[in-house]
């Protein structure tokens, strides 16, 4: 009995590591970003908007659209495979009220774990720095992230599932996704990792 307990205690940390490691890998490969750490900006921001359509809700949502109206058919097709739409946007009264380091929790995820930055995407808006990232898993897009920063605003959009820029533009202004006003890419894709 004592020997079994001793062995179990030795194995326990390894099992825990495997368990958490597995969970982290599956999150990294799912195209879903962990955005909770951005919440630290909430008390300082003059305005915060958070929209969360998680996998359960997305599975329900696409079925709610009728298959009769052509616009609704298009939305239905688009939403069918999407597993989540997550938007967080923080506006500040004055410029530079947030430090770039406060966005690091998101940027560090995008710099690793299968995300690739699409080069050449810019914003048509002045002073806006926009970066668009795609998560590829076995030649399939499994997520898209848009980080839009200007001195008075931080916006992160994360769409989980097979989505590209063309589809993103169809969703802009709906389902909580802001009008990102993206200019077309000059080059197709570049892996920056």
């Amino acid at each position: 009995m004592r020997e079994t307990l001793r062995t179990s205690l030795k194995i326990a940390p390894i099992m825990l590591l495997l368990l958490f490691g597995g969970a982290m890998t599956s999150r990294a490969q799912s195209g879903k970003l962990q955005l909770d750490q951005l919440d630290a900006l909430t008390n300082r921001a003059s305005n915060t908007v958070e929209v969360k359509l998680d996998e359960n809700l997305m599975q329900t949502t696409w079925k709610l659209f009728s298959g009769k109206d052509p616009d609704e058919i298009a939305i239905k097709d688009l939403l069918k495979n999407i597993k989540g739409i997550y938007v967080k946007s923080f506006s500040f009264e004055k410029e530079n009220e947030y430090a770039p380091a406060e966005i690091d929790s998101v940027m560090s995820q995008l710099r690793g774990g299968g995300w690739s930055k699409i080069v050449g995407i810019t914003s048509k808006k002045e002073n806006e720095n926009v970066e668009v990232y795609l998560m590829m898993v076995a030649d399939q897009i499994s997520g898209l992230a848009v980080v839009s920063l200007n001195p008075k605003e931080v916006t992160v959009v994360n769409i989980v599932g097979p989505i590209n820029l063309e589809k993103l533009s169809q969703l802009e202004g709906s389902f909580g996704i802001p009008d990102l006003d993206l200019a077309k890419p000059k080059a197709k894709k570049d892996n920056e990792n």
């Binding site: 919440d39 305005n47 915060t48 929209v51 969360k52 709610l64």
Partner: protein
């Protein structure tokens, strides 16, 4: 002795790690009202408000984005609580209120939209849960002096329409629940 202590420690650790619900029976609506009262030290006033609107709230129409006037919620499906002319001061901790509401609702409800303006003490929170073939939507709207909590039952097709503009959803439902018939 050592083994006993180790076993006790392991059992305690296991017991602490087991998730157990804060509330055995989540009503959602009442839990949120309590969370508001505790965080802001305010009291709700449901009956005077209903009397003032002539108890016609459920039949009120609201304008959905897109033009025509439609009734959003099922007739008689509204639950409304009103906090009138009280002081809503989050003392710079508006994010903590958000957390306490989510904790009060538990996992049964999904957070859909949250908009916060700490400076003006303005907040809107929209939560959703499935109720058979229909949906319950819970909307909390707070500003510096007043707050409203509304729960409505929506048909799937109405929810689909509202989901196209989730940021406006809370306002549409609160307007319908708190505006008297024209």
């Amino acid at each position: 002795m050592k083994t006993k202590l180790t076993l006790t420690g392991l059992l305690l650790a296991l017991a602490c790690s087991l998730p157990f619900p804060a509330h055995a029976d989540h009503d959602g609506f009442n839990d949120v009202v309590k969370a508001i009262e505790q965080f802001y030290h305010v009291k709700h006033q449901s009956i005077p408000f209903l009397a003032r609107t002539g108890m016609k709230a459920a039949r009120t129409a609201a304008k959905i984005k897109g033009g025509e006037w439609k009734q959003l919620a099922e007739a008689g499906s509204f639950r409304v609580v009103f906090f009138e002319d009280q002081r809503f001061d989050s003392r710079g901790q508006i994010a903590n209120f958000k957390t306490s509401v989510q904790k009060a609702l538990g996992t049964e409800w999904s957070t859909l939209v949250q908009t916060l303006s700490p400076k003006d003490e303005q907040q809107t929170h929209v939560f959703l849960r499935q109720a058979g073939p229909k949906f319950h939507v819970l909307v909390i709207e707070i500003d510096r002096r007043d707050a409203t909590v509304v729960q409505a039952t929506l048909k799937p097709e109405v929810l689909a329409e509202l989901l196209k503009d989730p940021a406006d959803m809370g306002k549409s439902i609160t307007d319908e629940a708190t505006t008297a018939d024209p």
